[in-house]
Amino acid sequence: MGYDLNFAVVWRNFDKMWGGLLLSLELAVISIAIGVLIGLVLALAHVSGGRWLRGVIAAYVETIRNVPLILLVYLVFYGLPQAVDIRYDAATSFVVTLSVYSGAYLVEVFRAGLEAIPKGQIDAGKALGLTPWQRFTSVRLPAMIRIILPALSNTFISLFKDTSVASVIAVPELTWGAQWINLNTFRIVEAYLIATAMYLVTGYLLLFLLRLLERRFRVGRHA
């Protein structure tokens, strides 16, 4: 190994990476929030809707899941504005993409959860005289959340990592920060080592928090 590590240059430009990490988190949080909304609504529509609606949802899910994220990112940022009259900056465009992308993955998570709820629980809700909406909020939703939490956490973490793709349209998130340092200081190994460490620490910290949340949900409610 004929390479001398020199982190000093990277520390001087650390604001690029720190700011990048914060932006990565911001992109992830906003996209996931919108994605959860899309996923939840479509999952409910899927389990209660007719064949036509199911077909449309399946088409959305299958399309998104079978196409590389990077291509979707390009498509939304470079392609769409050619056809429709919209203007957005790179970050907004990426949030749109990742929201639609995460929605497709989350539909599947939520749908699996809704379908895994034992029928007896819903019958018990009916027997008590709960209205459909009451059954949803006080029986199905809590039951579903407990079933899907581990899968949900994993999907969140994976979406957080996916924000790195935003760097291809020059959104100044963490990966872009590392690239910037790479291009401007040539401290390649250091830049990516630190980026790697930051992704790892953030990712596992998030996972830890989500697991805590899972545990609270499990013992706290109807245990």
């Binding site: 291509l71 050619q82 996916d162 760097s167 291809v168 992704y199």
Partner: protein, 216 residues
């Protein structure tokens, strides 16, 4: 718009071929490496187990894109030199290997302890138990996520375009660079990826059904 697509198609074939080769190499090498390391994780001595665990958790904890740049820019700096193509294959393979390790662990650990004991009781050695008792059963659990993961490899391979490897993604961008017709070409690209991956997941569902006969 149709004109651009017709013009681009022969050019895209070369890229499609590279995408398929990168994906196939990734899937093939990671299968072998992942199964070996997966066995090490399940049956190895403690230090080996910890090492594999560390490898898997680290690799799975960082974005593929970062891994890709790390291997491409970082490895030459420490004396390991390879061109963009092999850097891309290496990075994607590392990532996929970590996944295969986890699939294997899940599949093997889903098999009841009694199966190992029954194998021991008739005098099978460790290797024989794996080969005749554990693996045939684990296969059923291993295959569906693994084949689903093949589509991940195909999708992940699109990132190699960033290293200048002329795969499908890169050749689409090259055509756009000449024609400035982004939308139709991205849609065409999405369609091609969709066809490949949808076929793969359809195959996975069929295999899943085929292997579902083994219960009890």
């Amino acid at each position: 718009m149709l004109e651009q697509i017709v013009y681009a198609i022969p050019f895209l074939f070369g890229g499609l071929w590279v995408t398929l080769v990168v994906s196939a190499l990734t899937v093939g090498i990671s299968l072998v490496a992942g199964v070996l390391l997966g066995c090490a994780l399940i049956y190895g001595a403690l230090p080996l187990r910890l090492l594999v665990r560390l490898f898997s958790d680290t690799i799975r904890g960082i974005p593929i894109l970062v891994l890709l740049f790390f291997v491409y820019y970082g490895f030459p700096a420490i004396g390991i030199d390879f061109d963009a193509f092999w850097a891309a294959v290496t990075a994607l393979t590392l990532f996929k290997t970590a996944q295969v390790i986890e699939y294997l662990r899940g599949a093997v650990q889903s098999i009841p302890r009694g199966q190992t004991e029954a194998g021991m009781a008739i005098g099978l050695t460790f290797a024989e138990r794996l080969r005749y008792v554990i693996f045939p059963q684990a296969l059923r659990r291993f295959l569906p996520p693994w084949i689903n993961g093949v589509t991940d490899a195909v999708k992940g391979s699109a990132l190699v375009s960033l290293l200048g490897v002329t795969d499908l993604m890169h050749s689409i961008n090259q055509v756009i660079g000449r024609t400035y017709e982004a939308l139709p070409l991205y849609i065409l690209g999405a369609f091609i990826y969709f066809v490949i991956n949808y076929s793969l997941s359809a195959l996975s569902r069929r295999l899943e059904r085929r292997f579902s006969f083994m219960q009890a």
